[in-house]
């Protein structure tokens, strides 16, 4: 090893404290970068290969009832490689381990062999036999949630008849990676499962012989999806087609894409903060290092080392440091990534989902850390390179202090000498001061970024469940039913009140914008389910006209008073214009509401209802559930309480995990910034502080001078950091959480702000105390003897 490299390693050892701080901040940035992007890449590749191997369809369509002969016509559409026709039905399930009913989605398998499109991965067991109509495959998530296995039985109500379904295998499908019931936001594997049966069994149970009600199409690459959708719509229209759609509107696909979008947002944001802080710390430490090594630099140059060699020496040093941090970060990022992947495998059902460290991400993190380190020290390194050797032999001029404008303030003139020293020191280095303050404030911001999602979700939950959805339970019927069913429902045990709703699949159009969604018809004076905005104010449903979520209004580019075209996708499929009566800024991504009467008029039907919202007496729930489990026309009863539990179990637990990471990371930033600043201040002012000790100041007094500046900066950084955190949170919300599916509002609880401030303050205080211990070791005589 060359002597200059040895010098580098020895300097690194001397600077081990600041280097460790820099390395850890850099490592935190790289870890979050590697974790999010590798998880993203794992998710992307897992989905891609799953889709390819298991032939996930490109176009999906539901019809009322179409003859099997339509299949060949669908297959003739240019670009269509395979068509799968299926029968699907939602059924009410009665599970012994649950008091309340659950929902099952039955899906037909071809009578022989495996489906050509949306093939299944058989995790265990075997395929159902044609001769045994009660045999089913069940989805993996549902099986796990209920500890079901081959040989177990599940009781379901098929077309009004109770039937015991015998499980013969557990399967996964690319169609249900994210297994979620239509209309739900949170997957709930306990209350929703997929059941695959041989087609013949379903044909018999639902009188669908020779017919199908769902088709999936696999397109050859490069096929125009929109054109195909138009063709499919044209062909299925006469059979009650509800409008074909692509993967973009398929719920499982949509949710995964959404998750990937969020990961991407986080992958860019948080690491950027860390790398900026690390870069700043490098700049400070290397400016100081190069300042103290002026004479060494001059000596090297005097003996013939070129400016470039001197520059490279320091550059090598900083890059080596960056690489140490990057190496650690890649290790930690991989470990965290595995943790996140395990968490994901709880709600994303893949045949196999193993975290895969993407080599491109590793390479990118090395390039980014190297470049940022290089850029960070460009100014001090240039200074070292351009330092004239003859000048460098002379010690640096003493810092120029003068009276400052601040000292004209009467308060300061009466202030103790320590405070005046602190103020002068701060004013003399405004840039470093600002950057230190900014560094600390970023620690506060990271804490906010790690926690605000939870506040947002809590706010949404409270708003949705206390202001908007005040029902205890939502019942959904298999088919729209006559209005009198409502009085039957109202007479169920424990039901206090019931309000009907009518939901119809529609396509809303405005000029060239269109969206498929369910139009929700509600009672104008409804009390159980209300339209509420983000400010928790309920909004009444108008007699006529539509209320659109503002997100939907943006997509359709319409304003209140304008009209949109409603194409109903079921029944007689009427098309009508309707005026937008108002907008609601709510948490739903895209939603449209109208009065139930307006929907009935639109549908040209009587008083049909799709379901009902119930308020129920909790003391009688057991009875109510028993009754509901026996109700054939019911396909689901979603309970508010269980939705909350599901939300907690899945999303909130993962957010809590991320918050723990973030608290750790923010502590690293805060400690790193305080430690480095204190060490630098100590290094720069050792002589001054030693002199003060010699002339009689106590250790406590000089400790105050050393740390006073940092204390002031920390106090300034907290409000600044809270501000930055709020602005960044707003940005993250807009970038990643303002999606078609749902919106999370920017709500930051006081407790989050308090936690951020407290953690930063504690980290700063602890680090300050550690550094101040060095004052005890100050060798007064030695310091004063050294030449400056």
């Amino acid at each position: 090893m060359r002597a200059l490299q040895r010098k580098m390693f020895r300097d690194l050892w001397i600077l081990r404290g600041p280097s460790l701080a820099i390395g850890l901040v850099m490592a935190s940035g790289v870890a979050t970068f590697v974790m999010s992007l590798s998880t993203l890449s794992t998710l992307y590749h897992a989905r891609l290969s799953y889709y390819e191997r298991y032939r996930f369809a490109n176009v999906f369509v539901n019809v009322k009832r179409a003859p099997e002969t339509l299949k060949s016509r669908l297959a003739e559409i240019p670009g269509v490689m395979h068509v799968g026709t299926r029968i699907t039905q939602f059924v009410n399930l009665d599970l012994p381990d649950m008091r309340e009913p659950a929902t099952g989605r039955l899906l037909s398998l071809p009578d022989h062999g495996e489906p050509a499109v949306n093939r299944l991965y058989l995790r265990s067991g075997r395929w159902p036999e044609l001769e045994r109509p009660d045999e089913v495959l069940i989805s993996d998530g549902f099986a796990t949630a209920h500890r079901l296995q081959s040989g177990d039985r599940v009781r379901a109500i098929l077309n009004g008849r109770r039937q015991d379904l015998r499980i013969v295998g557990i399967a996964l499908s690319p169609e249900f990676i994210y297994q979620i019931r239509e209309g739900d936001i949170i997957p709930d594997d306990r209350r929703f499962g997929i059941f695959w049966m041989r087609r013949r069994s379903l044909e018999a149970a639902f009188q669908m012989t020779g017919a199908f009600n769902n088709a999936v199409l696999l397109l050859s690459p490069g096929t125009d999806e929109l054109q195909t959708i138009r063709e499919v719509d044209r062909l299925t229209d006469p059979y009650g087609g509800t409008g074909a759609y692509g993967r973009g509107e398929q719920s499982s696909h949509k949710f995964i894409s959404n998750e990937m979008e969020e990961l991407r947002g986080m992958a860019l944001f948080v690491p950027t903060i860390f790398i900026l802080v690390a870069a700043w710390m490098m700049q400070v430490v290397f400016s100081r290092l190069i300042g103290t090594q002026r004479e060494q630099i001059a000596t090297l140059k005097a003996f013939g080392y070129s400016s470039t060699e001197v520059g490279l020496h320091y550059l090598q040093f900083v890059i080596f440091l960056a690489w140490l941090g990057t190496g650690l970060g890649i290790g930690v990022g991989t470990w965290l990534g595995r943790g996140v992947a395990t968490m994901y495998s709880r709600f994303f059902h893949f045949p196999e989902f193993d975290f895969h460290l993407d080599s491109r991400v590793v390479l990118a993190s090395i390039v980014i850390s190297t470049l940022s380190a290089g850029i960070a020290v460009i100014i001090p390194v240039r200074k070292a390179m351009h330092l004239p050797p003859a000048e460098a032999m002379r010690p640096e001029l003493p810092p120029a202090f003068g009276s400052t404008w601040l000292e004209s303030l009467a308060v300061l003139r009466r202030a103790p000498v320590e405070l005046r020293m602190i103020v002068r020191q701060m004013i003399r280095q405004p840039i470093r001061l600002t950057l230190t303050c900014l560094g600390l404030s970023l620690a506060v911001a990271v804490l906010i970024l790690g926690s605000f999602m939870l506040d947002g979700l809590n706010y949404v939950m409270e708003s949705e469940f206390n202001v908007a959805q005040r029902q205890d339970m939502t019942l959904t019927f298999v088919e729209p039913s006559q209005g009198r069913v409502l009085s039957e429902v109202a007479h169920l045990p424990g039901v206090i009140s019931a309000e009907p709703f009518r939901s119809v699949p529609v396509r809303l159009r405005s000029e060239h914008h269109s969206r498929r969604l369910g139009l929700m018809g509600l009672r104008t004076n409804g009390r159980l389910f209300r339209i509420a905005n983000v400010h928790r104010q309920s909004q009444s449903v108008p007699e006529t006209g539509l209320i659109l979520s503002s997100q939907l209004a943006r997509v359709l580019s319409v304003r209140p008073g304008e009209t949109v075209t409603i194409e109903v996708l079921e029944g007689r499929r009427p098309v009508q214009s309707m005026r937008v009566a108002g907008l609601v800024e709510d948490f739903q991504g895209e939603a449209a509401y109208a009065s139930i009467d307006a929907v009935h008029r639109l549908m040209q039907e009587g008083d049909a209802v799709s379901g009902a919202f119930l308020a129920a007496d909790t003391r009688q729930t057991a009875e109510l559930y028993r009754e509901l489990k026996r109700t054939p026309r019911l396909i689901g009863a979603s309970l508010k309480g269980s939705a909350l539990i599901a939300l907690r179990e899945t999303i909130i637990s993962s957010i809590l995990l991320m918050r723990t990471f973030n608290i750790g990371f923010a502590c690293i930033i805060a400690c790193g910034v305080v430690y480095n600043s204190a060490r630098i201040t100590l290094a720069e002012r050792t002589r001054e502080l030693a002199t003060m000790r010699v002339i009689g100041f106590t250790r406590g007094e000089i400790g105050r001078i050393l740390l006073g500046e940092l204390a002031i900066l920390t106090l300034l950084a907290i409000p600044l950091g809270l501000g930055i955190g709020h602005v960044m949170a707003d940005f993250v919300i807009r970038a990643a959480y303002d999606t078609e599916l749902f919106r999370i509002p920017l709500v930051i609880a006081r407790s989050t702000d308090a936690l951020a401030a407290l953690v930063t303050l504690l980290a700063a205080v602890c680090t300050g105390l550690i550094v101040s211990h060095r004052l005890a070791r100050l060798d007064l005589v030695a310091v004063l003897k050294t030449r400056e």
């Binding site: 060359r2 010098k7 090297l300 140059k301 003996f303 013939g304 080392y305 400016s307 050797p389 032999m393």
Partner: protein, 252 residues
């Protein structure tokens, strides 16, 4: 014994003049701008140094001797005038040329040693032998200054005299053409100073390195071939020693 050039006749001077000058300086002027004040450090110096010569540049502080040494060593450039090292024009040289020049030809010894504190004695010397073309080993260089036993000590573990001898070893390890020493004994006590001067003397004799020492200590001048006295940026005297003292004979 010091003989004034003017009184001594031509014999010794001719002896020196017969040799090729290593350095030639004409009209060297250096003005520093310190704030709004111009400080004239050198005021038109004419100078020649010869191969193998041991020269002492004598002067009080502020006389311009360090500036002169820095210019000769390629660390600084004059405001006006010419300096030649053999056929190298040091005034019009680029930064890269000067670096090359220092790397190939010059060894420096500083008053405060300027060792790299994080490197051992051996490594401090290796720092130079790493980049020099025809160097001796660090061990040999340290042997020449009598520090064979202290190879792996860090500067903080060495006495001032030892540190300065490491600095000399570092300067001579690459077998430079000239050795420029800025107050090499300035920070040392007499006995240690003499040990250091002995090392310089030995290097000059054994390796034939042209050696220029700047000092304000007139005693040291007794070991020189030639003494050049500076005052206020000018050469005010030049003398030649007919008989040089050994370093070990010096007392101050």
């Amino acid at each position: 014994m010091i003989i004034n050039v003017d009184d001594a006749g031509d014999a010794p001077a001719t002896d020196v003049n017969l040799r090729e000058p290593v350095f030639r300086a004409r009209g060297l002027t250096k003005i520093y701008h310190v704030g709004e004040v111009d400080v004239c450090a050198l005021r038109g110096i004419d100078l020649e140094l010869y191969a193998g010569e041991f020269v002492v540049l004598l002067g009080a502080s502020g006389s311009g001797k360090s500036t002169l040494l820095n210019i000769l060593g390629g660390l600084d450039c004059p405001t006006a005038g010419d300096v030649w090292f053999r056929d190298h024009d040091l005034v019009h040289a680029t930064d890269a040329d000067l670096t090359r020049y220092r790397r190939d030809h010059v060894g420096f010894v500083f008053q405060f040693y300027n060792l790299i504190p994080s490197l051992t004695a051996r490594e401090n010397v290796a720092l130079i032998t790493d980049i020099a073309e025809e160097s001796m080993t660090p061990e040999a260089a340290l042997g020449l200054v009598g520090l064979t036993a202290r190879l792996d000590h860090f500067p903080a573990q060495l006495s001032g005299g030892e540190q300065q001898r490491v600095a000399i070893a570092r300067a001579i390890a690459k077998q430079p053409d000239v050795l420029l020493c800025d107050e090499p004994t300035g920070a040392l006590d007499v006995q240690t100073g003499i040990t250091v001067l002995e090392s310089l003397e030995r290097v000059n004799e054994e390796l034939g390195t042209t050696t220029a020492i700047i000092t304000h200590n007139a005693v040291i001048a007794r070991m020189a071939n030639r003494i050049i006295t500076l005052s206020d940026g000018r050469i005010v005297g030049e003398e030649t020693n007919a008989v040089r003292s050994r370093a070990s004979e010096l007392v101050w």
